[in-house]
């Protein structure tokens, strides 16, 4: 069988790092993925992963004043299903020690933060990539293949 890879669709948008935009970002991802007919679980996994990435940007990247969050996504057709890639980018404080930030239960967010944001992103997607420069910002890229109707 020949390997086919067709880019089906993509989006890019910017919004301020306000708490209410956690739900907005999930809504965007839902609207983007729903036409590809994901399972309920695939959709919820993507929504949760995006929710974590955007919440991190709101809570950690811009702790004092609101900044801009850039979110982009693409859908690619492949033999295995639809490959969904979502990228969440901020120009905030950055992460000094990425492996520490990604280790389960670690949090710098004070009380009532579970320290599981990256764990959820890692568990609920197929691939997670984090690039960060202190003082410059952070880019989180998540990839998940969904079965969809073939």
């Amino acid at each position: 069988m020949q390997t086919k890879k067709n880019k089906l669709n993509n989006f890019s948008l910017k919004f301020p790092s306000l708490g209410r935009n956690e739900g907005f970002a999930r809504g965007i991802v839902s609207a983007f993925v729903l036409p590809l007919d994901p399972t309920v679980e695939e959709l919820n996994d993507l929504k949760a992963a995006v929710s974590e990435a955007v919440t991190n940007a709101i809570v950690h990247a811009y702790p004092n004043e609101a900044g801009t969050i850039e979110m982009s996504g693409s859908a690619t057709d492949s033999d295995a299903g639809y490959i969904i890639e979502i990228r969440v980018k901020d120009k905030g404080v950055g992460i000094a020690d990425i492996s520490q930030a990604m280790s389960p239960l670690y949090t710098s967010g004070g009380e009532d933060r579970a320290g599981l944001g990256f764990t959820v992103m890692e568990s609920f997607t197929d691939k997670l990539r984090v690039r960060s420069v202190v003082g410059k910002g952070t880019v989180v890229t998540m990839t998940k293949t969904i079965s969809g109707k073939q």
Binding site: D112, A114, G117
Partner: protein
Amino acid sequence: MPVNIVSKGDYVAAALTGELDHHNLIPIRQEIDTAVSIALPKVLLLDFGDVTFMDSSGVGLILGRMKLLKSIGGTVALSGAEGYAGKVIRLAGLAGLILKEENENANEEKQA
């Protein structure tokens, strides 16, 4: 109303509804903590039956309430975690807090 709280005797039951994220949980947490500080219950029951979405912020809510209840000699129990909230709760290693058999969930399969 994102949370419905009932205080009765030794317990406080909080039925959570809708999408539980960091933003939506801020007023919910406040309402629960107020109810707990008034009732000083032995058990705080958090019900996720009407939760349509939850990320790790919901786990943060549970961990924070466990700490609060411990400080007044109480415990936290979870119910209604059959849906997506349960997946996040299990990922966090908190499945042990889920009530196994509930009167409200007569249909739930009994674990041998």
